[in-house]
Assembly symmetry: C2
Homo-oligomer: 98 residues x 2
DNA sequence: TAAAAATACTCCATAGGTATTTTAT
DNA sequence: ATAAAATACCTATGGAGTATTTTTA
């Protein structure tokens, strides 16, 4: 499972629409469709019920959505924190002398 | 970033040894070495200082380690919860009648 | 000098694309 | 009839492997 996949799923769940999500994510609709299909194969069950008018999360989909948001939040914080360290610390050990 | 990569990094950080981690993860030592190299390229800086005797995390590595553990924990919970739903709910809506 | 990590390749799986078809309202 | 998702196919990237070399305590 790639964190990118969680982003994809979150975008669909939020937009309730594959095409809109694909635009938001800057990937093609078929690629997004395939990604979700593969996620569903990996999890061994449907995450999303789709018709041409509606996109509805299954019970498992809802569970994943809740957790995906948390994981994505944590990952964003991680990146931000690492970026801070890169700017300030540059990965080196700093010994302060007053 | 794949969650698998966080697992790899976590294993190295915990074992303080690439070879041991590779064994634990059931992948080859060179593959693991390459994965970390690519992670470091993606983050744009070293995560681990390695000599033949020591594996030491950089400041960024330490930050990633802390967060990786949290994310991996969350992901494990996610999988467990989804497995529960699959067993019980089978993705369908259940209405209880007493 | 010996144990551990890095490098150099090879191979295959899969993420992503474009073109098109199917489906449901 | 139309808008949205699915399917079919192709390509390229990169994850994983084996064999080997480099490094440092």
């Amino acid at each position: 499972m790639d964190i990118r996949h969680l982003k994809y799923f979150e975008s669909i769940a939020r937009n309730k629409n594959f095409t809109k999500a694909a635009e938001e994510l800057f990937i093609s609709q078929p690629s997004l469709s395939n990604m979700i299909k593969k996620m569903e194969e990996n999890f061994g069950s449907k995450l999303i019920e789709r018709t041409t008018r509606e996109v509805i999360l299954t019970e498992m989909g809802e569970a994943l959505y809740v957790h995906a948001k948390k994981i994505l939040g944590l990952y964003t914080i991680t990146l931000k924190e690492m970026e801070e360290i890169k700017k300030i610390g540059k990965g080196e050990i700093h010994i302060g002398i007053i």
